[in-house]
Symmetry: C2
Subunit: 148 residues, 2 copies
DNA sequence: CTTATTTCCTACTGATTTGCTCGGCTTTCT
DNA sequence: AGAAAGCCGAGCAAATCAGTAGGAAATAAG
């Protein structure tokens, strides 16, 4: 039940882009440096995000990446699904094309995995990049208060 | 975010033992055959469950395995934790000993993974083997009704 | 006492996934 | 022209997965 670094790095990178939303294209090496991620590896991940239409790229000098939609319209679930595939603890409850299983109708464990899938999806789909930006602002205010 | 076969097979095997609870020790080859699992492989998994105290074994002819507690006191979460380790989509929100991360206090993504962990744990910890037995009975009744 | 049944234990293995690295090509701004 | 970026494909070491293989020890039944 672990997430791979694809999903983790992907969410970090997208959050970084959200924090810089409106400031033009952000070069990948900036994102990689700020988040301690190998630039070459992140390149492969963001290529997937680009092909899925979540980010746009600007080539050439002063180029970089931009969110293709505003932060409130992108959820963590969107990012995870692109990088990790459909949310499902086991293949027989896959969101897209559930693997066929002849005794699915009578399978008790299957119902459990469906519940897990739904609860994970509910959490991930309810959090937008904008929510994260706001939470980040709250945290900063709190730590400011702490030093008064 | 996939469960391995360890968790899946383990829950199936434990549910099988729950269905046979009170009928003395159940030999492993029966469980393996009923659930289409390699007996040798299941052997390794049930050894872990035994060492964790979830099942008891009876050696020798007419031996086998028995749940060490009644089905209503064993949750799916208990089984998964034994076979797959602590529930956590990433190590920094591990239930037992979270991996140290110096900027955990300011990490926004960390909060997301903690929410995922909690929602998964909530689902898995709320389902006991007895719940599964009852659901199984309901399903059987429904399919009986269907044929009247 | 012997034999069949069953658990217990250790080691090995092929396939797949993960988490990268390396090198080079193309585009575009200055 | 040159530097700064994205784009692309190949390769690779380590870990994990999902088993196999083979036998030793315990116990019930005959």
């Amino acid at each position: 039940m672990k997430l791979s670094t694809k999903g983790r790095y992907g969410v970090k990178a997208m959050f970084d882009l959200a924090q810089n939303y409106g400031s033009g294209p952000i070069p990948l090496n900036n994102i990689a440096r700020r988040n301690n991620i190998s630039e070459h590896y992140l390149e492969q991940l963001i290529a997937v995000l680009r092909k899925a239409g979540l980010v746009k790229s600007v080539r050439g000098a002063q180029g970089g990446y931009i969110l293709s939609k505003s932060p409130e319209t992108i959820t963590v679930g969107d990012i995870i699904r692109v990088l990790e595939g459909p949310i499902a603890p086991v293949d027989c409850v896959n969101e897209d094309e559930p693997e066929h299983c002849e005794n699915a109708d009578f399978c008790i464990t299957r119902n459990i995995w469906a519940k897990v899938r739904d609860s994970v999806a509910q959490v991930l789909d309810s959090i937008t990049l904008k929510d994260m930006l706001e939470e980040s602002k709250n945290l900063q205010e709190q730590s400011y208060m702490y030093y008064i």
